[in-house]
Amino acid sequence: MTLGDLWLQQLINGLNLGAMYSLLALGFTLVYCIMELINFSHFNVFMVGAFIALGVLKLMGMDGQSVILTGLPLIGVLTLTFLITMFSSGMIGVGIERLLLRPLRAVTGPAAMILTIGVSYILFNIILIGIGGDTRNFANPLPSVAWNIGGAVLRMRDVLIWGITIVLMLGLTYFVQYTKLGKGMRATAQDPEAARMMGVEVDNVVALSFFIGSALAGASGLIFGLYYNYAKVDMGFAAGLRAFTAAVLGGIGNVPGAMLGGVLIGLIESGSSQLIGQLWADVVIFSILVIVLVFRPAGLLGRQAPNKS
């Protein structure tokens, strides 16, 4: 393995990590830009999503690495799993919003944020008690296709995760910018009161943003499972913290910012693991976050939040 190959491989590793963090960061950022709420339950909706996907794949007879699919069956299985997982986790998000957060909407201060931390722990413990704390082997129906670029290896999985991330981001951007519901969301983000007067159903818009944000978390859970082939009750915390950092680094509330932040953190993580050691990766990541925030408090691409005048 030459030095060039080594760095190419680390670049691929970094982009994979980045795609994962970006996907998770999107959900954070979406809810933040509508409600100015940091939704910490997102971490564990992601984890629950992974377990839902694990269950769905198991029901379809896929367990561990024994079944490999190609062609139409693969597309069918994946599409179905994505739909069920995204819908179920989306509904968890709607449930959290409707039952717990809506009564708190008029309350200012950190109450709602603290509540999401509580919900996060409740989800964590439901899975811990119901399913257990050990690492579960996640089904992997993807064929292990890989290409050699010099000494570096690019796997189909790598390309797939980049592709899905880009498609979801473009879809989200299109939805927010060009559809009627998206315009309602942006109007609510700018000024909920005025939006209501203009006939926007603010309650529905907020519920919708929770649905989309949580569905994205579910999708990330499924992708995480397919990529790393495991699901575990504590998977939400480490990945979620990095994703949250990515959202803040890129500028919270800002969709391209979440992507940029995620990719940067992924690249920094793999680069620092190579140069200094895995041991120091967190120190480097969070030092860079601190430095960026000192000079650009709103993050790299600026922050977008509702005007609460």
Binding site: Q10, Y121, G133, N137, Y228, D234, M235, A238, S270, Q278
Partner: protein, 414 residues
């Protein structure tokens, strides 16, 4: 708990014996003695925690059933040192458990913990209370090392006994095995930042340097992180003969999965932290194939009659197969029972002080794991490191340790 009717009978019995005089009085007032069991029941190690704990439960149930020690009823109380936030054992919780045991005089001895990090937190507290503990599986050598006596046994006497050997042997002996038997000439080391992982990795590294195995680097994994591809890519570029991992399953499972993708042909080895069903279930074949693992106790399979009898009893009681640390836990519980039996037979009082001193001098010649005697630090005198390699046995259950970890032999002593 006594039912109302049996309580009446018991009361009647006591009344009857009371009238017969003092000689039989002791027999009627059976004393309940408690043994605390510290296990990592929550989190990554919950499965092995239950299996290990059941070893002791079986021992005490038998002792109660056959009234093995006259006048003594055993009560084994489980304490959980795992927490949801840690996702595995939590030293702070282990310390709390130790305090609870020490504060109740009915606890005459303790069993556990499984994990060295928990042991380090518990040992000083138990020393203050002079409550002896026997660990079935924690192998970090510092806890019993006289060099650290001020830290881990401030009262001076050994209170941390083991029915396993320590990493002072597990790491170096495995280094000997990988170098001399398998033929590895260079190694990259990874640990999982826990007390056990760092310790076993340190001792492996030292021995490698002594015997001329090139250490190409060492790094530390965050057990909660998902992705180790960057460090594995670095290892791939260095191309050592062997990757040695010191740590437990939490990082080990993810490491094994990703190592299979990135460095499939490299030799991979670890300690007893990766000897468990979690590796077989969480990683699965083919990724888990070929990993070497060790165990800090003699390996006896069911070819041994004594072990076969034990395994059958265990399966009948718990619908589960025992593993090597179930055996060491059973033997640890037996050591406590034997000690108290000797005390009672000699008419000595049964309390923490006498039980500790009794354990110190106990000699079990023919236990399930061979001879058991403790040295003045609490370490097992009989030091054996067993080596295994995960080798797929398709005809047997793929998550069974007995069937999928192939026993290779005993690692050479340094």
């Amino acid at each position: 708990m006594l039912s109302r009717r049996s309580a009446f009978k018991a009361a009647a019995g006591i009344a009857a014996t009371a009238t017969m005089g003092v000689a039989t009085g002791a027999q009627a007032a059976d004393r309940v003695v408690k043994v605390g069991m510290d296990l990592s029941l929550t989190g990554a190690d919950s499965e092995s925690a239950i299996r290990t704990g059941n070893g002791a439960i079986l021992a005490f149930e038998e002792a109660n059933k056959y009234k093995e020690v006259p006048g003594i009823i055993w009560d084994a109380v489980k304490f959980d040192d795992g927490t949801a936030t840690a996702g595995q054992y939590d030293p702070a919780q282990a310390a709390t458990n130790a305090r609870k045991m020490v504060s109740d005089k009915n606890y005459i001895a303790a069993l556990g913990p499984q994990m060295s990090g928990a042991g380090k937190a518990m040992s000083p507290i138990l020393s203050e209370g002079n409550l002896a503990i026997i660990t079935p599986s924690s192998t970090n050598p510092d806890i019993t090392d006289p060099k650290f006596a001020a830290q881990y046994r401030p009262k001076g006497k050994a209170i941390y006994f083991r029915t396993v050997t320590t990493d002072a042997y597990q790491g170096p002996n495995m280094a000997n095995y990988m170098a001399k038997v398998v033929g590895a000439k260079s190694v990259y080391l990874l640990d999982d930042s826990g007390a056990y992982g760092v310790g076993i990795c340190d001792s492996f590294e030292r021995r490698c340097k002594e015997i001329g195995v090139t250490v190409m680097g060492r790094d530390r994994l965050d057990p909660k992180a998902a992705d180790y591809s960057a460090v594995l890519t670095k290892i791939k570029s260095l191309n050592p003969d062997l990757l040695y991992y010191g740590g437990v399953g939490q990082a080990g499972v993810k490491l094994a999965k990703q190592a299979y993708e990135i460095i499939p042909k490299m030799l991979k080895a670890g300690g007893d932290g990766i000897l468990g069903t979690e590796m077989l279930k969480g990683v699965g074949f083919p990724a888990v194939e070929g990993w070497y693992a060790t165990n800090a106790s003699p390996h006896k399979d069911e070819g041994d009659t004594q072990v076969k009898v034990f395994s059958d009893k265990f399966r009948a009681r718990f619908k589960d197969s025992p593993d090597d640390y179930t055996l060491t836990m059973y033997v640890a519980a037996r050591a406590i029972i034997e000690t108290v039996k000797v005390l009672v037979a000699n008419g000595k009082p049964v309390n923490r002080d006498t039980v500790r001193d009794g354990l110190q001098s106990i000699r079990m010649t023919n236990s399930l794991i061979g001879p058991v005697e403790f040295d003045e630090n609490g370490d097992l005198k009989n030091k054996v490191i067993s080596v295994f390699r995960i080798t797929k046995n398709a005809g047997k259950p793929l998550d069974s340790i007995d069937d999928q970890y192939k026993y290779l032999g005993i690692a050479p002593m340094s």
